[in-house]
C-alpha cells in the first residue's frame, strides 16, 4: 500500500509543479494576495523610470512639504519627491534579495542533498557548522560580514547569501533524510540506479515543493535583513534611493512631526515582506492540506 501511495504522491507533485494554476485548497487566497503584492512591486521596479513622476535624486518641490497633489507622498528634507524615491527604492532590495537567494540556494541545496544522502561523519560535521551558523542572529552575522567587506550592493549580496545558506541546507538535508528510505528510492536502487541518479532524479524533484515554500519564507526574511542592513548604512550611500536607507534618513525629522518621510518607505518594506510571507504560508497549506502548521 505504501508503495502505491508513494508513486501517487510523486505524480501529484509533478502535476502540481507543471500545472501553473494554483490548486483549489485552503491557503489559495493567501497565495493569490501575496502574488498580487509581489507582482505589483516587481512591475513598479521594472517600470520605475516610466511611472515615477520625478527624478528620485533631484529637487521636486519645497523641502519637507506634506503630501499634496504635486507630491502624493510629500517631499524629503532635500525637496526630493518621496513617491518617486519609493518607486525607485524597490530596485536594490529586489536585486539584492533575489541574487542572494540564488547564491545561497546553489550552495545550500547541493550540500544539504549530499550531506543528508551519504550521512556519516562528514554529514555530522557539516550539520554542526550549519547549525551553529543558523543559531547565530542573522542580522548580526550579516552586519559583521558587511562591516569587513565595506558597504556596497555586491557585498550586501555576499553577506545575505552567507546568512541563508544554513536555512536551505537544513531544509534539504531533513527532506533527503526522510526521502532516502522511502520505497520508490529503494526501488530505484534495486533497479540499479547510481547515487547521482537517485539524488538528481528521485530525491531532488520531491524537494522542489518544500523548497518553494522555504524560498518564499526566506525571501520574506531576507527582505527584512536587507532593509535592516540598508537602514544601518551598510548597502547604499546618498543619494541612492533604497527603502531601508530612506527610512534612516527620515529618522532625524521624526521628532518634529514630518511623518511622511518615514511612513512610506518603511511601509513598502513591510508590504514586500508580507507578499512573500503570504505566498510561503499559503503554499505550505496548499501543498500540505489538512496539516495545520
Amino acid at each position: 500500500m505504501k508503495g502505491i501511495g508513494d508513486t501517487m504522491e510523486v505524480k501529484n507533485l509533478a502535476t502540481r509543479i507543471f500545472r501553473p494554476i494554483i490548486p483549489e485548497a485552503e491557503g489559495r487566497n493567501m497565495v493569490i494576495a501575496g502574488l498580487i503584492i509581489v507582482i505589483v512591486i516587481l512591475l513598479m521596479a521594472i517600470l520605475a523610470d516610466l511611472i515615477a513622476p520625478y527624478n528620485p535624486t533631484k529637487l521636486a518641490g519645497r523641502p519637507l512639504s506634506p503630501p499634496s497633489l504635486e507630491n502624493p507622498m510629500g517631499t524629503d528634507n532635500l525637496g526630493r519627491d518621496i513617491l518617486s524615491r519609493v518607486i525607485h527604492g524597490s530596485r536594490i532590495v529586489l536585486v539584492v534579495v533575489f541574487s542572494a537567494a540564488i547564491v545561497s540556494m546553489s550552495i545550500g541545496v547541493p550540500i544539504g542533498l549530499i550531506s543528508g544522502y551519504f550521512g556519516g561523519k562528514l554529514d555530522r560535521a557539516i550539520s554542526m557548522i550549519m547549525d551553529s551558523m543558523y543559531a547565530f542572529p542573522s542580522l548580526i552575522l550579516a552586519i559583521a560580514i558587511a562591516a569587513v567587506l565595506g558597504p556596497s550592493v555586491v557585498n550586501a549580496v555576499v553577506a545575505i547569501s552567507v546568512v541563508y545558506v544554513p536555512t536551505y541546507f537544513r531544509m534539504v538535508r531533513g527532506q533527503t533524510l526522510s526521502l532516502k528510505s522511502r520505497l520508490f528510492v529503494e526501488a530505484a536502487r534495486a533497479a540499479g540506479a547510481g547515487n547521482t541518479r537517485i539524488m538528481s532524479r528521485y530525491i531532488f524533484p520531491n524537494l522542489v515543493t518544500t523548497a518553494i515554500v522555504v524560498f518564499s519564507l526566506s525571501i520574506a526574511d531576507a527582505i527584512l535583513t536587507e532593509a535592516g542592513l540598508s537602514f544601518l548604512g551598510f548597502i547604499v550611500t546618498a543619494p541612492t534611493p533604497d527603502w531601508g536607507f530612506d527610512l534612516s534618513s527620515g529618522r532625524p525629522y521624526l521628532p518634529s512631526g514630518y511623518w511622511w518621510m518615514i511612513t512610506f518607505p518603511g511601509f513598502m518594506v513591510m508590504l514586500l515582506a508580507l507578499g512573500f510571507a503570504l505566498i510561503g504560508e499559503g503554499l505550505s497549506e496548499v501543498y500540505a492540506p489538512g496539516r495545520e502548521r
Binding site: I140, A220, R251, L254, W259, M270, R293
Partner: protein, 336 residues
C-alpha cells in the same frame, strides 16, 4: 534522575564544539574573508604607516594560524583585547557597560512577545474557524513582516510626538539612574526602592520592548493556536467535558500541555530577538550591545567589533544550552 544528569552533562559538553565552531566562524569572517578588515574599516585615505600600526595593534601582522590560536586562547581566557579608541579600556569592560541594557530590553521584549502570542493564539484556538481566528492568523503574518525600525518609529510618532505620553529615546531620564547593583535599571530600582527610577526606566522600556514584543509574537500566535487545537481534540479533554469539568479549568489544563513546544520556539526565537534588538536599539537610541557594535564599526575600533561579535556568539551558545536543559526538565521524553 541519573539520566537527567547524564543528559545535562552531555549537552554541556556539546557546547564546547559549538563555541569553537562559532568562534572559528567569527574569525573566518573577520580575518580571512577577502579584503583587509583594517583597510576597509579605516577607509582608503590612510597612510600605509598608520595602517601598519593599526594592524599591529589588532595583532593582524602575524601568520594566520598564530593569530587563530592566540585568538581562541585569549577568548577562552576571557581576554577580549583592548579597545583601540579613547581610554583603550578592555573590550570586555566596555561590553559589560552596554550588555545590561540589551538584556533588559530583550527580557521585556521576550515577555511581551510570549504574552501577546499566547493570548492571541489561545483566542484563535478557542474560537476556531471564526472570523476572530482568521484575523489572528492575519495578525501573525503581518507581525512577522513588520520592519522593526519602521514599526518602532510609527509607535514613536503616535505615542511620543503626537500624544506626547512616552519618551522616544534613551533608557532612563537623566539624573534619576538608580544605584548600580546589577545595572539592570528596573531590577536595581526595585532593589533600592527607588520609585522615580523605576517609573522612568519602565516608561523608557515600554515602546522599545513593545516593538520587539509585537514583531516576535506572530510565531507564538501560530504555534499556540495549532498546539492548543491538537490538545483540545484529545481524549482526556473529552473525558473532562463528559465529567462536567468547567470550561475554564479545561482551558487551563489544555494550555499547560500546549505550552511545551512553545519552549522550543523560545529557544529558536532568541537569535531573532538579539538581531531584532540591534534594530530596536538603533531606533530608540538605546545604549546596548547593538548600538555598541555599530558605533565601534563606525569608529573603526576593530578589537571592540570582534569582541562584540564573539560575545554574541558565546551568549547564543549559552542560551541554547539553557533552553535545552529547561526542556529536559519539563519534558522527560527528551532525556534518552
Amino acid at each position: 534522575m541519573a539520566s537527567l544528569k547524564a543528559y545535562i552533562a552531555t549537552r554541556a559538553l556539546l557546547v564546547i564544539p559549538t563555541v569553537i565552531i562559532l568562534l572559528t566562524l567569527v574569525f573566518f569572517i573577520l580575518r580571512i574573508l577577502p579584503g583587509d578588515p583594517i583597510a576597509s574599516m579605516v577607509g582608503q585615505k590612510v597612510p600605509p604607516e598608520v595602517l601598519e600600526r593599526l594592524r599591529e595593534e589588532a595583532g593582524l601582522n602575524k601568520p594566520i594560524f598564530v593569530q587563530y590560536f592566540e585568538y581562541l586562547f585569549n577568548i577562552l581566557h576571557g581576554d577580549f583585547g583592548r579597545s583601540m579608541i579613547w581610554g583603550k579600556r578592555p573590550v570586555i569592560a566596555e561590553i559589560m557597560d552596554r550588555f545590561p541594557a540589551t538584556l533588559e530590553l530583550t527580557i521585556f521584549g521576550f515577555i511581551l512577545s510570549v504574552l501577546i502570542g499566547v493570548f492571541t493564539g489561545s483566542i484563535a484556538a478557542f474560537k476556531r474557524n471564526s472570523k476572530l481566528d482568521a484575523s489572528m492568523r492575519i495578525y501573525s503574518i503581518i507581525a512577522y513582516s513588520l520592519f522593526i525600525p519602521w514599526f518602532g518609529m510609527v509607535l514613536q510618532m503616535i505615542f511620543g510626538v503626537y500624544l506626547k505620553i512616552l519618551p522616544i529615546a534613551g533608557r532612563i531620564a537623566p539624573g534619576v539612574e538608580p544605584e548600580r547593583i546589577t545595572t539592570l535599571y528596573v531590577l536595581d530600582s526595585i532593589l533600592t526602592l527607588n520609585f522615580d527610577a523605576l517609573s522612568s526606566s519602565l516608561i523608557h522600556l515600554f515602546l522599545p520592548s513593545l516593538t520587539l514584543g509585537i514583531v516576535l509574537s506572530g510565531a507564538y500566535t501560530r504555534l499556540v493556536r495549532n498546539n492548543l487545537i491538537d490538545v483540545l481534540s484529545q481524549d482526556y479533554i473529552t473525558a473532562y467535558k463528559a465529567r462536567g469539568v468547567k470550561d475554564r479549568k479545561i482551558a487551563l489544563h489544555a494550555m499547560k500541555n500546549a505550552f511545551i513546544p512553545v519552549i522550543t520556539l523560545m529557544g529558536l526565537q532568541f537569535a531573532i530577538l538579539l538581531a531584532g534588538a540591534v534594530l530596536t536599539e538603533t531606533t530608540f537610541s538605546w545604549p546596548g550591545m547593538g548600538t555598541f557594535l555599530l558605533e565601534r564599526i563606525q569608529y573603526r575600533d576593530y578589537n571592540s567589533v570582534q569582541g562584540a561579535i564573539v560575545f554574541y556568539a558565546l551568549f547564543v551558545a549559552l542560551i541554547s544550552l539553557v533552553v535545552d536543559i529547561i526542556y529536559a526538565l519539563i519534558d522527560p521524553r527528551v532525556r534518552y
